[in-house]
């Protein structure tokens, strides 16, 4: 067991699975000699060779499309998109082919692959480097969308993603890459995809969140605990398909729901969660569902990024408002 950052845990998961399964291959921009711009694939090409760790030309649509061809051939590609803001050219391949290949061939051809990418802001990056676009992907049946919130969960969920028989979009919260170290055992044990993680148990209000916002949500919960408020904090972790059972169980228990996400509010994933809870547990609610989210604005350049990203203060206010309703 060693203490490590999330990006080190991600690297370790790659290495474990590549050593175990010769069909796992890594591809992407600068993933080879350079080891990835965040070092997520550092050392893999030296250890596993150039055939299994392939630097690609600079074209995200190509990376996604090539990974589809490789996966249909029985390889397990783990493809890196350098930043989520660059996912747009790959969306055609993801939506038109990756998500659909199993269905449109009645299971004859499949896409067991992972598309990894940094998600969200908070590291003073340039324009287009700080986007939270999970809703674009969660809208497509056939995909799994996963977003870990700690080094250990990143390790376990990435192993599960690589082993999954279907395509998994793996969103890595960029400001958690080197945020905190945690003990992570390199034991090859996967964590289950399709399940929420209850990070903190509580009885007054349920906070549903994911990615980097789990850290702020836990801080807010801790702050309010001093005032006697008991918050349950749920890390959704698998954003598609969502484990609504855990969320609904919690809401039935607490009667109050605050959804926290970094992405813009309109048609964000929070809206889907709110709608489902309203459909299935409205009469268990003591107060209207509330959302604390990024604004419906363009993600600003970095001087204003913390004006955009919901912080602890907004989450605390959101909890108070829910409790006051």
């Amino acid at each position: 067991m060693a203490k490590m950052t999330m990006v080190e845990a991600i690297n370790m998961a790659h290495a474990w699975e590549m050593a175990q399964d010769p069909s796992v291959v890594v591809l992407g921009e600068d993933v080879g000699t350079n080891g990835g711009v965040f070092r997520a694939t550092a050392g893999l090409q030296q250890r596993f060779g150039k055939a299994r760790v392939q630097d690609t030309p600079l074209a995200e649509g190509l990376i996604a499309g090539t990974a589809i061809g490789m996966a249909a051939q029985g390889l397990k590609p783990v493809a890196e998109i350098q930043f989520m803001g660059f996912i747009y050219p790959a969306l055609d391949q993801i939506a038109s082919h990756m998500a659909r290949l199993r269905n449109r061939t009645r299971g004859r051809l499949t896409c067991p692959l992972v598309m990894r990418m940094p998600h969200g802001g908070g590291i003073h990056a340039p324009e287009h480097h700080s986007e939270s676009l999970e809703a674009l992907l969660c809208h497509h049946p056939g995909l799994r969308v996963v977003c870990p919130s700690s080094p250990a969960r990143a390790y376990g969920l990435l192993l599960a993603a690589i082993r999954d028989p279907d395509p998994v979009i793996f969103l890595e919260p960029v400001r958690l890459y080197r945020f905190a170290k945690q003990d992570v055992a390199d034991d090859g044990r996967a964590l289950p995809i399709g399940h929420c993680f209850v990070l903190r148990e509580g009885s007054d209000v349920t906070l549903v969140t994911w990615g980097a916002m789990t850290v702020d949500s836990l801080k807010a919960a801790q702050q309010l605990a001093a005032e006697g408020v008991s918050c349950e904090v749920i890390d959704v972790a698998t954003l598609a398909p969502i484990d609504f059972e855990t969320i609904l169980d919690s809401v039935v228990k607490t009667g109050r729901l605050l959804i926290v996400h970094e992405a813009a509010r309109t048609a964000g994933l929070g809206a889907e969660i709110a709608a489902t809870v309203a459909e299935q547990a409205l009469y268990d609610l003591h107060a209207p569902i509330r959302r604390v989210t990024g604004y419906d604005t363009i993600m600003p350049l970095y001087r204003l990024e913390h004006d955009y990203i919901p912080g602890v203060a907004r989450i605390v206010d959101g909890i108070r408002a829910t409790l006051a309703d």
């Binding site: 055939a51 299994r52 499309g65 990974a67 490789m70 050219p89 061939t105």
Partner: protein, 361 residues
């Protein structure tokens, strides 16, 4: 602007073998000694044409959905199929009936697909070939990915990708060629230049003199061929595949043909296309010249023709009967192939669809 020096020069060679009257206008390929193969090339072209006419007719009578006719493309499609080995993998657009036939895809599969049933993509005899690809050009990176998989595993196999003239305007086309060139992938790309991308003539699609030359920018050798000459198609593609399988890298082949039909059964080409142009193109179509070539060598006659046409018509009739008798899939099938296992949250939706399906007549 006068240059100080010329740093690079490129040429696009052209190849043809059979003139439109069936006489030789180039060197006969070596495989032409195999008379059974020559007869088979012609037979599968006829099979594609007979099938195609029936499919259009089925659409016109309300028994098939929108269908993109392959009329006029038979030599390119069949020639490519005949050049491939079983272990090579095919990536098509949506018109390549002749290639699919050669690879062992059944008429029933093609009818089912255009008849609105995903089971038409379950190719039992070519389990690794991709199904038809509707988003234009997007099949190209899949072929590059398969080729990369062959290269990683050290397999002597080739990915063969079709793309149309319109498809060469897509970024995915160039991105895939760029990768294939950079990594020297075992891939052959056949550009089917049939003159028209729905209503857009090639002259309006690009200022490039040839479509083959788009490969030059990716560092890939390219050739333009007579796509109505099944002999040169088969020969050129086979050479390219052999080179690719031997580690020699990719090739781009531009096959010059003509879309004698409308774009699909939903299109009316008379709105944008000159009848004279179509008539001129019809005189260059691929079947007549191959038949004349075979007859001149005593390898074909009217009796053989009648017998083949009868056999094709019977095969088509049998397939159509099977197609029309195939019950539609259950509503469960919308859910059952989304993932290896249905996520629990989707079970309720599957139940809903099941319930409403029983309520409909």
């Amino acid at each position: 602007m006068s240059p100080d020096a010329v740093v690079a020069r490129f040429e696009i060679p052209y190849r043809g073998c059979l003139a439109s009257d069936g006489t030789l206008c180039g060197t006969l390929p070596e495989f032409a000694g195999d008379t059974a193969l020559l007869q088979r090339l012609y037979s599968v072209m006829v099979r594609a044409r007979v099938f195609d006419a029936k499919a259009v007719n089925l659409q016109r009578t309300g028994k098939l959905g929108t269908y993109p006719s392959c009329l006029g493309h038979e030599a390119t499609h069949v020639g490519v199929g005949a050049a491939m080995r079983a272990e090579d993998v095919l990536f098509t657009v949506y018109r390549e009936v002749g290639t699919k036939f050669w690879r062992g895809v059944d008429m029933l599969d093609i009818l089912l697909y255009w008849g609105g049933d995903e089971r038409g993509t379950v190719y039992l005899r070519t389990p690794e070939d991709f199904p038809f690809c509707v988003p234009i050009g997007s099949q190209m990176p899949h072929a590059a990915g398969a080729a990369l998989a062959f290269q990683i595993r050290g397999q002597a196999r080739c990915a063969v990708a079709f793309v149309g003239d319109g498809g060469t305007s897509q970024g995915a086309f160039y991105e895939a060629l760029n990768l294939a060139g950079a990594k020297k992938l075992p891939m052959v790309c056949v550009i089917v230049n049939n003159g028209w991308a729905i209503s857009m003539p090639v002259s309006a699609q690009t200022a490039a003199r040839t479509l083959a030359q788009k490969a030059i920018a990716a560092g890939i050798p390219a050739v333009q061929i007579d796509g109505n000459d099944v002999l040169i198609v088969r020969e050129t593609v086979a050479e390219a595949i052999e080179r690719a399988r031997g580690g020699g890298g990719p090739t781009v082949i531009e096959a010059m043909t003509y879309r004698l039909s409308d774009h699909t059964t939903s299109d009316d080409a008379t709105r944008y296309r000159d009848a004279g142009e179509v008539e001129a193109a019809r005189r260059l179509e691929p079947l007549a010249r191959m038949r004349a070539f075979l007859e001149a060598r005593g390898l074909w006659n009217e009796q053989a023709e009648q017998s083949l046409r009868r056999e094709c018509a019977e095969a088509v009739d049998t397939a159509v009967k099977q197609y029309l008798a195939t019950p539609k899939q259950s509503s469960d099938s919308m859910f059952d192939y989304l993932y290896a296992q249905l996520p629990p949250g989707l079970r309720a939706q599957r139940e809903d669809a099941r319930r409403y399906a029983t309520l409909r007549p």
